[in-house]
Amino acid sequence: MAKERSHKAQIVIDRLGKKLNRQIVGSLVACVHCGNCTDACHYVLANPGDPTYAPAYKADKIRSIFKRHYDWTGRIFPWWVHAKSLYTDEDLEELKDIVFGKCTNCRRCTINCPMGVDLATFNRMARGLLVSVGVMPEGVAVVSKDQWEIGNQMGVLKEDYVDTLEWLTEEMQMEYPESPGIPIDTVNADVVYSINPREVKYDPRTISDAAMIFNAAGENWTMPSEDWDMTNFGLFSGDDDLGGSVARRLYEKVVELKGKKLVISECGHGYRSTRCEGPNWAQHDVSFPMESSVITMINYIKEGKIKVDKSKNTEKMTFHDSCNNARSCGLFEEPRELLNMVCENFQEMYPNRSENYCCTGGGGAMSMSEYTPQRLVSAKVKADQLKATGAKYVVTSCHNCVDGLTDLIKHYKLDMKVTQLVNLVANALVIDKPVEGPAEEVPTPAEVTPVAAEAGSLQGYKILVADDEPDFVTFVSTVLEDNGAEVVMAYDGNQALEMARKEKPDLMTLDITMPGKSGIEVFEILRNDDELARIPVCIMTGKPELRKLIYDRAVRPPEGYVDKPIDEESIILNIRRILELAKSKGK
């Protein structure tokens, strides 16, 4: 009797046939199981003795389905070539854990395969098939939904985005009163600058640094108020429709603004998605040039539009190549060229360029919290690689890598910080125009930080920290107190509400999963309470997949939302931004 197949499994098999092209079929039939790819994978190296992490093993989980349904030997003698079909939803879940949880699509095995089998490409295809039937990690679902519905992968609302840019402009103009700040929606600009939403949420300093560089170069530039996200979760989820839609929105925005060139901020997957894959997914030929901001910055220096003083960046630095930049876009010499222009002490990392190891946060891994433990185990390879350089800073041109590296540096207790080229260029900038203020005022990287490192910047504010992890409460409280804030603490939902009523804080940080009333319930009660509704809330959670539970409420969304792990700089930055925006709105 024929085995019953679930509806979802049947759809996956049917859609597989439609996804196949010559490149993918070639990769599916050509593997000879030589095992040469095994040592190329960081998951294998960090899990010695476990063959289930081997690229060919993982590839065979996808290949077996293809063989069973589309390859003649597999159709007639399935057992002979390990051909196997999908039958149940459990089979789909198992496949999900492999294609999302055991591979970052870094493509290192691809360039080490003697046959030229491109596992990353058909692994992405398998992700897309699963996503098409709703089988995916929760974080992928949330982020994809945000990018479909809100237009960016972190669900940054237009109001928050524009507020942040205006706030950054005010900050810049406080220091340099005649600075043009950040131009928004300027028509006919020579450069349209697109960013990663992470910059708005966690790292606005990269935006202000870029703005400082554009302004110092006298560039006629702008940022769009909408459709500004150059990241594309379609690359990670394998959803070509999402990929095409996101890319098209950005391309059309540039055309609408009559921009002459699109400059993409430092982000590996954003660069690859926008610059390389986007036109393919969108089936859209792009009429304007696109370049990485790394190239833009090099050109400014070479053309004498900006001057830099590399003696301002004296610490020993190494460079981490993003997989998407190096292995899929050939962007590896330019970052080094720029780095050598702006820092004195560069130490190469080995292996490097297209042979570099993944930061282990790639392929959307940072949004899949269920796989965090195995991700951090696999990060040992990268940690050892970083440690061997003896550098104090690891520089990277990718926001995803910033998060992945920061996480592993913390986990493996490395004495190292992560920074990006835009930060180093801004720091090395020699500003001799009177309007821009004296160069000496630029902080050195060792002191960096950002926007908010001035002690006492939170003086006079009372902040309630609500989280059931005592260590996290202690960490956040210490950071806030060191910056002058008065802190009150709560360790469960009920206590959080009680303290909010009693202390009337200027801001509240809120964990989502807490004993007693959950953070979601607390948030809803706060918003529906006339007296408490005015308190700005910053969600701090280690479970990004629960994000939709907050944003799906029929109440005003939180003023801030950050994922754990979070570092000191991001805490201060986000808290300050929320407080200052609240103040300017007269809350």
Binding site: S27, N36, A40, T52, A54, W72, I111, C113, G116, E355
Partner: protein, 223 residues
């Protein structure tokens, strides 16, 4: 009827014809899938392009230094070279006997050359069998086809080594077995992993073309 004459004559020709026909069908099947189109503008520093990319990619087989996976495992790489030279030599041996030396032994120097290459390939075959069974990584990815193909070729090398002189007087069974196995091999190839060389030009072409256009191939390494 089922003798050496038949094995190295009719059977061999039929097997060869079957292989060719199935190969053409296989290639037709592969080319029926549409090739994905790349619309992106080139990336990289401009020192390479699609053409350089696929030429490099095709040449990869002869450049053990090009990939970390071969650079760091030179012993395996040389095994690969010897094994594939062995396959080529064994096929040439079959053709030589079938078409030129049907009724006479091979010239001693030619026979010795075949013996050295095919004998070395047999040793490599044994090492590969040990690796396929002994390495838990390789074992985990091996299907019955992988094992059978390897055993088949290794045994074929053994009989190729024994039959290389084509000295029928010293024992017909060696040549007979070599030709029977060779014919089976020709028929089995298109249905097995051994047909990988049919796909090699395609996979490496498309990967090289794409990565050349994107400035990745030829791979650059900083020592």
């Amino acid at each position: 009827m089922f003798d050496l004459e038949f094995a190295r004559g009719t059977l061999h020709d039929v097997a060869l014809a079957v292989m060719m026909i199935v190969y053409f069908i296989r290639l037709y099947w592969l080319t029926r899938f549409k090739a994905g189109k790349e619309r992106q503008a080139p990336t990289g520093i401009g020192d390479t392009n699609s053409r350089k990319g696929y030429i490099y990619s095709w040449g990869n087989v002869g450049m053990p230094w090009a990939m970390e996976s071969t650079r760091t495992k030179l012993f395996l790489y040389f095994q690969f070279v010897i094994f594939h030279l062995g396959v080529t030599a064994a096929i040439l041996l079959m053709f030589s006997i079938s078409f030129y030396f049907k009724d006479s032994p091979l010239p001693p120097q030619l026979a010795l050359t075949f013996k050295i290459i095919i004998g070395a390939a047999f040793v490599v075959g044994v090492l590969r069998i040990i690796r396929r069974i002994g390495s838990k990584y390789v074992r985990a990815i091996s299907s019955p086809d992988d094992h059978f193909s390897l055993w088949l070729l290794t045994a074929w090398f053994l009989f190729g080594y024994l039959a290389a002189n084509n000295n029928i007087a010293a024992g017909e069974w060696k040549s007979f077995t070599f030709f029977i196995m060779g014919s089976f091999f020709l028929i089995y190839v298109p249905f097995s992993k051994i047909s990988h060389y049919l796909y090699y030009p395609f996979t490496r072409y498309y990967l090289g073309k794409s990565l050349g256009r994107r400035g990745v191939f030829p791979i650059k390494r900083f020592q």
